[in-house]
Protein backbone atom coordinates (compact mmCIF):
# COMPACT_ATOMS: atom_id res chain seq x y z
CA UNK A 1 0.00 0.00 0.00
CA UNK A 2 1.32 3.37 -0.93
CA UNK A 3 1.42 6.17 1.58
CA UNK A 4 1.09 9.68 0.29
CA UNK A 5 3.92 11.75 1.65
CA UNK A 6 3.06 15.37 2.02
CA UNK A 7 4.88 18.28 3.48
CA UNK A 8 4.02 21.90 3.79
CA UNK A 9 5.98 23.92 1.23
CA UNK A 10 8.63 26.05 2.84
CA UNK A 11 8.90 29.80 2.28
CA UNK A 12 11.79 29.17 -0.13
CA UNK A 13 9.59 26.65 -2.01
CA UNK A 14 6.76 29.15 -2.29
CA UNK A 15 9.02 31.87 -3.64
CA UNK A 16 10.84 29.55 -6.02
CA UNK A 17 7.52 28.17 -7.33
CA UNK A 18 6.36 31.69 -8.01
CA UNK A 19 9.58 32.43 -9.82
CA UNK A 20 9.21 29.39 -12.07
CA UNK A 21 5.67 30.56 -12.82
CA UNK A 22 6.96 33.91 -14.02
CA UNK A 23 9.58 32.24 -16.19
CA UNK A 24 12.78 32.70 -14.25
CA UNK A 25 15.06 30.12 -12.59
CA UNK A 26 14.60 29.44 -8.93
CA UNK A 27 16.81 30.62 -6.11
CA UNK A 28 18.27 27.18 -5.43
CA UNK A 29 20.90 27.69 -8.14
CA UNK A 30 22.20 30.97 -6.65
CA UNK A 31 25.97 30.86 -6.08
CA UNK A 32 26.02 33.97 -3.86
CA UNK A 33 28.44 35.83 -6.15
CA UNK A 34 26.74 39.19 -5.41
CA UNK A 35 26.81 40.35 -9.03
CA UNK A 36 23.15 41.38 -8.53
CA UNK A 37 24.03 43.55 -5.54
CA UNK A 38 26.89 45.17 -7.45
CA UNK A 39 24.61 45.95 -10.41
CA UNK A 40 21.81 47.45 -8.28
CA UNK A 41 21.58 51.28 -8.30
CA UNK A 42 19.33 51.31 -5.22
CA UNK A 43 21.28 48.84 -3.09
CA UNK A 44 22.51 51.37 -0.54
CA UNK A 45 18.91 52.11 0.41
CA UNK A 46 17.99 48.47 1.02
CA UNK A 47 18.04 46.81 4.45
CA UNK A 48 19.49 43.73 2.81
CA UNK A 49 21.28 43.49 -0.52
CA UNK A 50 19.68 41.28 -3.20
CA UNK A 51 22.36 38.60 -2.65
CA UNK A 52 21.72 38.58 1.07
CA UNK A 53 17.96 38.52 0.54
CA UNK A 54 18.30 35.38 -1.59
CA UNK A 55 20.44 33.73 1.10
CA UNK A 56 17.86 34.67 3.73
CA UNK A 57 15.00 33.18 1.68
CA UNK A 58 16.96 29.96 1.19
CA UNK A 59 17.62 29.89 4.94
CA UNK A 60 13.88 30.20 5.62
CA UNK A 61 14.02 33.61 7.34
CA UNK A 62 10.49 34.47 6.23
CA UNK A 63 9.73 37.20 8.77
CA UNK A 64 13.04 38.99 8.32
CA UNK A 65 12.63 38.94 4.55
CA UNK A 66 9.03 40.19 4.53
CA UNK A 67 9.76 42.86 7.12
CA UNK A 68 12.64 44.30 5.11
CA UNK A 69 12.33 47.26 2.75
CA UNK A 70 14.56 45.63 0.12
CA UNK A 71 11.97 44.39 -2.35
CA UNK A 72 9.90 47.59 -2.21
CA UNK A 73 13.09 49.55 -2.91
CA UNK A 74 13.56 47.84 -6.28
CA UNK A 75 13.05 50.29 -9.17
CA UNK A 76 12.58 47.45 -11.72
CA UNK A 77 15.57 48.55 -13.79
CA UNK A 78 16.57 44.92 -14.49
CA UNK A 79 20.33 45.56 -14.23
CA UNK A 80 20.66 42.55 -11.89
CA UNK A 81 18.74 40.25 -14.21
CA UNK A 82 20.97 41.12 -17.16
CA UNK A 83 24.06 40.50 -15.03
CA UNK A 84 23.28 37.27 -13.14
CA UNK A 85 25.65 34.52 -14.35
CA UNK A 86 23.19 31.80 -13.29
CA UNK A 87 20.17 33.09 -15.18
CA UNK A 88 18.22 34.04 -12.08
CA UNK A 89 16.24 37.22 -12.48
CA UNK A 90 16.48 38.99 -9.13
CA UNK A 91 14.24 41.80 -10.42
CA UNK A 92 11.51 39.18 -10.92
CA UNK A 93 12.19 37.93 -7.41
CA UNK A 94 11.47 41.45 -6.15
CA UNK A 95 8.17 41.46 -8.07
CA UNK A 96 7.33 38.04 -6.61
CA UNK A 97 8.03 39.29 -3.08
CA UNK A 98 5.94 42.42 -3.67
CA UNK A 99 2.98 40.32 -4.83
CA UNK A 100 3.47 37.78 -2.04
CA UNK A 101 3.54 40.53 0.57
CA UNK A 102 0.36 42.09 -0.85
CA UNK A 103 -1.45 38.73 -0.94
CA UNK A 104 -0.43 37.97 2.63
CA UNK A 105 -0.97 41.56 3.67
CA UNK A 106 2.39 41.39 5.36
CA UNK A 107 4.81 44.25 4.74
CA UNK A 108 6.51 47.01 6.67
CA UNK A 109 3.87 49.59 7.52
CA UNK A 110 6.09 52.62 6.88
CA UNK A 111 6.55 51.86 3.18
CA UNK A 112 4.79 53.89 0.47
CA UNK A 113 5.17 51.28 -2.29
CA UNK A 114 2.31 48.91 -1.36
CA UNK A 115 -0.26 51.67 -0.84
CA UNK A 116 0.82 53.49 -3.99
CA UNK A 117 0.58 50.29 -6.04
CA UNK A 118 -2.93 49.59 -4.75
CA UNK A 119 -4.01 53.17 -5.44
CA UNK A 120 -2.56 53.02 -8.94
CA UNK A 121 -4.27 49.72 -9.74
CA UNK A 122 -7.57 51.04 -8.38
CA UNK A 123 -7.30 54.25 -10.44
CA UNK A 124 -6.68 52.38 -13.68
CA UNK A 125 -9.42 49.84 -12.97
CA UNK A 126 -11.87 52.73 -12.61
CA UNK A 127 -10.82 55.07 -15.41
CA UNK A 128 -8.49 53.05 -17.66
CA UNK A 129 -5.84 55.75 -17.47
CA UNK A 130 -3.34 57.11 -15.02
CA UNK A 131 -3.63 60.59 -13.50
CA UNK A 132 -0.75 61.81 -11.37
CA UNK A 133 -2.54 64.21 -8.98
CA UNK A 134 -4.78 61.29 -7.99
CA UNK A 135 -1.84 59.71 -6.17
CA UNK A 136 -1.59 62.57 -3.68
CA UNK A 137 -2.85 60.36 -0.80
CA UNK A 138 0.29 58.23 -1.17
CA UNK A 139 2.34 61.35 -0.53
CA UNK A 140 0.32 62.32 2.52
CA UNK A 141 0.98 58.82 3.75
CA UNK A 142 4.70 59.25 3.22
CA UNK A 143 5.43 62.82 4.29
CA UNK A 144 2.35 63.94 6.25
CA UNK A 145 1.06 67.45 5.65
CA UNK A 146 4.60 68.55 4.85
CA UNK A 147 4.88 65.90 2.17
CA UNK A 148 1.54 66.91 0.72
CA UNK A 149 2.61 70.56 0.67
CA UNK A 150 5.89 69.65 -1.03
CA UNK A 151 4.02 67.76 -3.74
CA UNK A 152 1.59 70.63 -4.22
CA UNK A 153 4.45 73.05 -4.77
CA UNK A 154 5.98 70.60 -7.20
CA UNK A 155 2.64 70.19 -8.98
CA UNK A 156 2.19 73.95 -9.27
CA UNK A 157 5.48 74.27 -11.17
CA UNK A 158 4.28 71.73 -13.72
CA UNK A 159 0.78 73.20 -13.75
CA UNK A 160 2.23 76.61 -14.63
CA UNK A 161 3.86 75.03 -17.68
CA UNK A 162 0.60 73.37 -18.68
CA UNK A 163 1.97 69.94 -17.88
CA UNK A 164 -0.77 68.82 -15.49
CA UNK A 165 -4.40 68.77 -16.62
CA UNK A 166 -7.00 69.79 -14.07
CA UNK A 167 -9.19 66.80 -14.74
CA UNK A 168 -8.28 63.15 -15.17
CA UNK A 169 -8.86 61.60 -18.57
CA UNK A 170 -10.66 58.28 -18.91
CA UNK A 171 -11.28 55.69 -21.57
CA UNK A 172 -14.66 55.48 -23.29
CA UNK A 173 -15.63 51.88 -22.65
CA UNK A 174 -15.02 51.79 -18.90
CA UNK A 175 -17.88 49.33 -18.28
CA UNK A 176 -16.48 46.75 -20.72
CA UNK A 177 -13.03 47.45 -19.35
CA UNK A 178 -14.06 46.60 -15.81
CA UNK A 179 -15.86 43.48 -17.01
CA UNK A 180 -12.67 42.46 -18.80
CA UNK A 181 -10.54 42.89 -15.68
CA UNK A 182 -13.04 41.02 -13.52
CA UNK A 183 -12.69 38.00 -15.80
CA UNK A 184 -9.08 37.82 -14.57
CA UNK A 185 -9.42 38.74 -10.91
CA UNK A 186 -12.38 39.71 -8.70
CA UNK A 187 -12.34 43.50 -8.65
CA UNK A 188 -13.99 43.98 -5.27
CA UNK A 189 -10.65 43.34 -3.62
CA UNK A 190 -8.79 46.00 -5.55
CA UNK A 191 -11.16 48.57 -7.02
Amino acid sequence: METATSRVPSFADEITNEMYATGTRGLNCCIQCATCSAACPAVEFMDHTPRRLIAMINAGLRDEVLDSNSYWTCASCYACSEACPKGIKPSDLMYVLKRYSIWKNRYRSDLVGPEFSRLFVRTIARTGKSYEPGYAPAFIFEGGVKGMFREMQFGMKLLAKGRIPLLPSRIKRTENFRKMLSRIIPLDGIA
Binding site: A75, S76, E82, K89, S91, G113, F120, S130, K157
Partner: protein, 307 residues
Protein backbone atom coordinates in the same frame (compact mmCIF):
# COMPACT_ATOMS: atom_id res chain seq x y z
CA UNK B 1 3.61 57.24 -45.90
CA UNK B 2 4.21 54.37 -43.48
CA UNK B 3 1.61 54.21 -40.73
CA UNK B 4 1.94 52.76 -37.23
CA UNK B 5 -0.54 52.18 -34.46
CA UNK B 6 0.55 54.69 -31.86
CA UNK B 7 0.30 54.13 -28.12
CA UNK B 8 0.81 57.59 -26.52
CA UNK B 9 0.74 56.43 -22.89
CA UNK B 10 -0.92 58.29 -20.03
CA UNK B 11 1.85 60.84 -19.56
CA UNK B 12 1.40 62.07 -23.15
CA UNK B 13 -1.81 63.71 -21.96
CA UNK B 14 -0.09 65.26 -18.96
CA UNK B 15 3.58 65.81 -18.14
CA UNK B 16 5.02 64.76 -21.51
CA UNK B 17 2.70 66.42 -24.02
CA UNK B 18 5.80 67.93 -25.66
CA UNK B 19 7.15 64.45 -26.40
CA UNK B 20 3.88 63.49 -28.03
CA UNK B 21 3.74 66.68 -30.12
CA UNK B 22 7.36 66.49 -31.26
CA UNK B 23 7.08 62.79 -32.11
CA UNK B 24 4.10 63.39 -34.38
CA UNK B 25 5.67 66.48 -36.02
CA UNK B 26 9.08 64.94 -36.72
CA UNK B 27 7.41 61.74 -37.86
CA UNK B 28 5.32 63.64 -40.40
CA UNK B 29 8.47 65.33 -41.80
CA UNK B 30 10.08 61.94 -42.21
CA UNK B 31 7.12 60.28 -43.89
CA UNK B 32 5.87 58.36 -40.88
CA UNK B 33 2.31 58.62 -39.59
CA UNK B 34 1.23 57.64 -36.10
CA UNK B 35 -2.39 56.60 -35.80
CA UNK B 36 -3.47 56.75 -32.19
CA UNK B 37 -4.90 53.46 -30.95
CA UNK B 38 -8.64 53.96 -30.48
CA UNK B 39 -9.71 54.11 -26.81
CA UNK B 40 -6.32 52.86 -25.56
CA UNK B 41 -5.81 52.24 -21.85
CA UNK B 42 -2.89 52.47 -19.42
CA UNK B 43 -0.11 49.87 -19.93
CA UNK B 44 -0.09 49.12 -16.19
CA UNK B 45 3.36 50.63 -15.59
CA UNK B 46 5.08 48.76 -12.73
CA UNK B 47 2.32 48.84 -10.07
CA UNK B 48 0.14 46.33 -11.96
CA UNK B 49 2.98 43.81 -11.97
CA UNK B 50 3.46 44.53 -8.25
CA UNK B 51 -0.12 43.37 -7.66
CA UNK B 52 -0.93 40.79 -10.35
CA UNK B 53 1.05 39.75 -13.40
CA UNK B 54 -1.92 38.37 -15.33
CA UNK B 55 -3.85 41.58 -14.84
CA UNK B 56 -0.85 43.56 -16.09
CA UNK B 57 -0.74 41.48 -19.27
CA UNK B 58 -4.48 41.92 -19.77
CA UNK B 59 -4.14 45.70 -19.88
CA UNK B 60 -1.55 45.42 -22.64
CA UNK B 61 -3.49 42.74 -24.51
CA UNK B 62 -6.46 45.09 -24.90
CA UNK B 63 -4.28 47.74 -26.57
CA UNK B 64 -2.70 45.14 -28.86
CA UNK B 65 -6.11 43.74 -29.82
CA UNK B 66 -7.44 47.19 -30.76
CA UNK B 67 -4.31 47.90 -32.84
CA UNK B 68 -4.63 44.53 -34.58
CA UNK B 69 -7.98 45.53 -36.10
CA UNK B 70 -5.99 47.94 -38.31
CA UNK B 71 -3.14 45.45 -38.89
CA UNK B 72 -0.63 48.10 -37.80
CA UNK B 73 2.52 47.49 -35.77
CA UNK B 74 2.46 49.21 -32.40
CA UNK B 75 4.82 52.05 -31.50
CA UNK B 76 5.32 53.27 -27.94
CA UNK B 77 7.33 56.41 -27.13
CA UNK B 78 7.72 55.53 -23.45
CA UNK B 79 10.29 53.01 -22.17
CA UNK B 80 7.91 51.51 -19.61
CA UNK B 81 4.97 51.26 -22.04
CA UNK B 82 7.31 49.73 -24.61
CA UNK B 83 8.61 47.17 -22.13
CA UNK B 84 5.13 46.16 -21.01
CA UNK B 85 3.60 45.97 -24.48
CA UNK B 86 6.66 44.19 -25.88
CA UNK B 87 6.67 41.48 -23.23
CA UNK B 88 2.89 41.01 -23.18
CA UNK B 89 3.07 40.57 -26.95
CA UNK B 90 5.91 38.01 -26.69
CA UNK B 91 4.07 36.09 -23.96
CA UNK B 92 0.85 36.06 -25.97
CA UNK B 93 2.65 34.82 -29.08
CA UNK B 94 4.52 32.06 -27.27
CA UNK B 95 1.99 30.87 -24.70
CA UNK B 96 -1.23 29.55 -26.21
CA UNK B 97 -2.81 28.94 -22.79
CA UNK B 98 -2.16 32.52 -21.75
CA UNK B 99 -3.55 33.79 -25.05
CA UNK B 100 -6.73 31.73 -24.58
CA UNK B 101 -7.15 33.00 -21.04
CA UNK B 102 -6.60 36.66 -21.93
CA UNK B 103 -8.79 36.40 -25.02
CA UNK B 104 -11.61 35.20 -22.79
CA UNK B 105 -11.20 38.45 -20.83
CA UNK B 106 -10.94 40.53 -24.02
CA UNK B 107 -14.32 39.18 -25.18
CA UNK B 108 -15.89 41.41 -22.54
CA UNK B 109 -14.88 44.34 -24.73
CA UNK B 110 -15.64 42.47 -27.97
CA UNK B 111 -11.95 42.11 -28.73
CA UNK B 112 -9.59 39.31 -29.72
CA UNK B 113 -5.83 39.24 -30.21
CA UNK B 114 -4.28 36.83 -32.72
CA UNK B 115 -0.67 37.79 -32.00
CA UNK B 116 0.14 39.15 -35.47
CA UNK B 117 1.75 42.46 -34.48
CA UNK B 118 5.21 43.68 -33.58
CA UNK B 119 5.83 46.21 -30.81
CA UNK B 120 8.45 48.90 -31.38
CA UNK B 121 9.92 51.80 -29.48
CA UNK B 122 9.68 55.19 -31.16
CA UNK B 123 13.44 55.71 -31.26
CA UNK B 124 13.89 52.36 -33.05
CA UNK B 125 11.39 53.44 -35.67
CA UNK B 126 13.38 56.60 -36.37
CA UNK B 127 16.76 54.87 -36.31
CA UNK B 128 15.87 51.80 -38.36
CA UNK B 129 12.60 52.15 -40.28
CA UNK B 130 13.19 55.77 -41.25
CA UNK B 131 16.97 55.44 -41.17
CA UNK B 132 19.71 57.89 -40.31
CA UNK B 133 20.34 58.87 -43.95
CA UNK B 134 16.74 60.01 -44.33
CA UNK B 135 17.03 61.90 -41.04
CA UNK B 136 20.22 63.64 -42.22
CA UNK B 137 18.50 64.76 -45.42
CA UNK B 138 15.90 66.67 -43.42
CA UNK B 139 18.36 68.51 -41.19
CA UNK B 140 18.32 72.26 -41.82
CA UNK B 141 19.97 73.51 -38.64
CA UNK B 142 22.58 70.98 -37.57
CA UNK B 143 23.10 71.20 -33.80
CA UNK B 144 26.77 71.96 -34.27
CA UNK B 145 28.82 72.22 -31.13
CA UNK B 146 25.97 71.16 -28.83
CA UNK B 147 27.10 68.42 -26.48
CA UNK B 148 24.24 66.02 -25.87
CA UNK B 149 24.25 63.20 -23.31
CA UNK B 150 22.08 60.41 -24.74
CA UNK B 151 20.13 58.80 -21.92
CA UNK B 152 18.73 55.40 -22.84
CA UNK B 153 17.34 54.54 -19.42
CA UNK B 154 16.73 50.96 -18.38
CA UNK B 155 13.52 49.64 -19.82
CA UNK B 156 14.44 50.63 -23.36
CA UNK B 157 17.26 48.08 -23.34
CA UNK B 158 16.29 45.63 -20.56
CA UNK B 159 15.24 42.93 -19.82
CA UNK B 160 15.28 39.94 -22.20
CA UNK B 161 14.92 41.97 -25.30
CA UNK B 162 15.12 40.09 -28.58
CA UNK B 163 14.67 43.21 -30.67
CA UNK B 164 18.14 43.02 -32.19
CA UNK B 165 19.75 45.77 -30.11
CA UNK B 166 22.77 45.28 -27.89
CA UNK B 167 21.53 45.65 -24.30
CA UNK B 168 25.01 46.28 -22.88
CA UNK B 169 26.58 48.62 -25.43
CA UNK B 170 23.97 50.19 -27.71
CA UNK B 171 25.14 53.01 -30.02
CA UNK B 172 22.02 54.02 -31.91
CA UNK B 173 21.13 56.98 -29.71
CA UNK B 174 24.62 58.42 -30.21
CA UNK B 175 24.37 57.80 -33.96
CA UNK B 176 21.00 59.54 -34.14
CA UNK B 177 22.36 62.60 -32.32
CA UNK B 178 25.36 62.70 -34.65
CA UNK B 179 22.97 62.53 -37.61
CA UNK B 180 21.35 65.81 -36.53
CA UNK B 181 24.75 67.46 -36.18
CA UNK B 182 25.05 67.31 -32.39
CA UNK B 183 28.06 65.98 -30.49
CA UNK B 184 27.04 62.92 -28.44
CA UNK B 185 29.08 62.71 -25.25
CA UNK B 186 30.00 59.41 -23.62
CA UNK B 187 29.27 58.95 -19.92
CA UNK B 188 29.07 55.80 -17.83
CA UNK B 189 25.51 56.21 -16.52
CA UNK B 190 23.68 56.33 -19.85
CA UNK B 191 22.03 52.91 -19.21
CA UNK B 192 21.49 53.36 -15.48
CA UNK B 193 18.08 53.77 -13.88
CA UNK B 194 16.52 57.23 -13.29
CA UNK B 195 14.78 55.99 -10.16
CA UNK B 196 11.47 55.51 -11.97
CA UNK B 197 8.54 55.07 -9.59
CA UNK B 198 10.86 55.02 -6.58
CA UNK B 199 10.31 58.78 -6.75
CA UNK B 200 7.03 57.88 -5.05
CA UNK B 201 7.97 54.69 -3.21
CA UNK B 202 11.39 55.69 -1.83
CA UNK B 203 12.08 59.37 -2.46
CA UNK B 204 15.61 59.49 -1.09
CA UNK B 205 16.77 56.50 -3.12
CA UNK B 206 15.34 57.98 -6.33
CA UNK B 207 16.86 61.40 -5.69
CA UNK B 208 20.27 59.79 -5.14
CA UNK B 209 19.90 57.93 -8.44
CA UNK B 210 19.02 61.17 -10.25
CA UNK B 211 21.96 62.92 -8.56
CA UNK B 212 24.38 60.21 -9.76
CA UNK B 213 23.09 60.53 -13.30
CA UNK B 214 23.29 64.30 -13.38
CA UNK B 215 26.81 64.19 -11.98
CA UNK B 216 27.83 61.69 -14.61
CA UNK B 217 26.47 63.90 -17.42
CA UNK B 218 27.87 67.12 -15.97
CA UNK B 219 31.32 65.58 -15.62
CA UNK B 220 31.54 65.24 -19.40
CA UNK B 221 30.22 68.80 -19.85
CA UNK B 222 26.92 67.88 -21.44
CA UNK B 223 24.89 70.95 -22.50
CA UNK B 224 21.70 68.94 -22.46
CA UNK B 225 20.49 65.42 -21.70
CA UNK B 226 18.32 63.74 -24.34
CA UNK B 227 15.76 61.15 -23.21
CA UNK B 228 13.45 58.69 -24.92
CA UNK B 229 11.03 58.29 -22.02
CA UNK B 230 8.58 60.59 -20.18
CA UNK B 231 9.34 59.20 -16.74
CA UNK B 232 13.10 59.59 -17.25
CA UNK B 233 12.52 63.16 -18.42
CA UNK B 234 10.33 64.02 -15.44
CA UNK B 235 12.67 62.49 -12.87
CA UNK B 236 15.82 64.01 -14.34
CA UNK B 237 14.43 67.49 -14.96
CA UNK B 238 11.68 68.27 -12.51
CA UNK B 239 13.40 66.85 -9.43
CA UNK B 240 16.71 68.71 -9.85
CA UNK B 241 15.58 71.26 -7.25
CA UNK B 242 14.88 68.45 -4.78
CA UNK B 243 18.24 66.86 -5.56
CA UNK B 244 20.01 70.16 -4.94
CA UNK B 245 18.16 70.67 -1.65
CA UNK B 246 18.77 67.11 -0.48
CA UNK B 247 22.45 66.84 -1.35
CA UNK B 248 23.63 70.46 -1.43
CA UNK B 249 24.43 70.27 -5.14
CA UNK B 250 23.83 72.93 -7.76
CA UNK B 251 22.66 71.12 -10.88
CA UNK B 252 20.74 72.89 -13.62
CA UNK B 253 20.90 70.66 -16.67
CA UNK B 254 18.21 70.85 -19.35
CA UNK B 255 16.58 67.51 -20.19
CA UNK B 256 14.66 67.27 -23.45
CA UNK B 257 13.21 64.56 -25.69
CA UNK B 258 15.29 63.32 -28.62
CA UNK B 259 12.32 64.13 -30.88
CA UNK B 260 12.49 67.79 -29.81
CA UNK B 261 16.16 67.91 -30.79
CA UNK B 262 15.36 66.25 -34.11
CA UNK B 263 12.52 68.68 -34.74
CA UNK B 264 14.65 71.72 -33.94
CA UNK B 265 17.39 70.48 -36.25
CA UNK B 266 14.80 69.96 -38.98
CA UNK B 267 13.60 73.53 -38.65
CA UNK B 268 10.17 72.74 -37.18
CA UNK B 269 8.68 75.65 -35.22
CA UNK B 270 9.51 75.47 -31.51
CA UNK B 271 5.89 75.72 -30.44
CA UNK B 272 4.96 72.67 -32.50
CA UNK B 273 7.61 70.73 -30.56
CA UNK B 274 6.35 71.79 -27.16
CA UNK B 275 9.49 73.86 -26.53
CA UNK B 276 8.73 76.30 -23.72
CA UNK B 277 7.06 73.80 -21.37
CA UNK B 278 10.34 72.64 -19.82
CA UNK B 279 11.38 73.85 -16.38
CA UNK B 280 15.02 74.30 -17.44
CA UNK B 281 15.23 75.74 -20.98
CA UNK B 282 17.77 74.05 -23.30
CA UNK B 283 19.58 77.35 -23.84
CA UNK B 284 22.56 76.03 -25.82
CA UNK B 285 20.34 74.22 -28.29
CA UNK B 286 18.01 77.18 -28.81
CA UNK B 287 20.95 79.55 -29.33
CA UNK B 288 22.45 77.18 -31.86
CA UNK B 289 19.19 76.93 -33.80
CA UNK B 290 18.64 80.70 -33.65
CA UNK B 291 22.17 81.38 -34.86
CA UNK B 292 22.06 79.12 -37.84
CA UNK B 293 19.83 80.96 -40.34
CA UNK B 294 21.69 84.22 -39.64
CA UNK B 295 24.99 82.52 -40.43
CA UNK B 296 23.55 81.16 -43.67
CA UNK B 297 22.40 84.64 -44.68
CA UNK B 298 25.81 86.16 -44.03
CA UNK B 299 27.47 83.60 -46.21
CA UNK B 300 24.93 84.29 -48.95
CA UNK B 301 25.59 88.04 -48.78
CA UNK B 302 29.29 87.35 -48.75
CA UNK B 303 28.96 85.27 -51.89
CA UNK B 304 26.79 87.93 -53.57
CA UNK B 305 29.31 90.67 -52.96
CA UNK B 306 32.08 88.56 -54.49
CA UNK B 307 30.57 87.04 -57.58
Amino acid sequence: MKTYAYFPGCSAETVSASYHLSAVETGAKLGVAFKEIEDWNCCGATPYTNIDELLANTLCARNLAIAERDHLDVVAPCNACYKNLYHANEHLKQDADLAEHLNFALEADELHYDGTLNVRHLIHVFVDDVGLDAVKKQVKHPLKGVKVAPYYGCQLVRPDRHDGYDPAGPRYFEDLLAAIGATPVGYPYRLRCCGASLMVANRRAALAMVRDLLRSAVQVQADVIATACPLCQLNLEAYQGDVNREFGTDYRVPVVYFTQLMGLAMGIAQKKLGIGTELIPPQKVLECVARKPAAAETSKTAKASHP
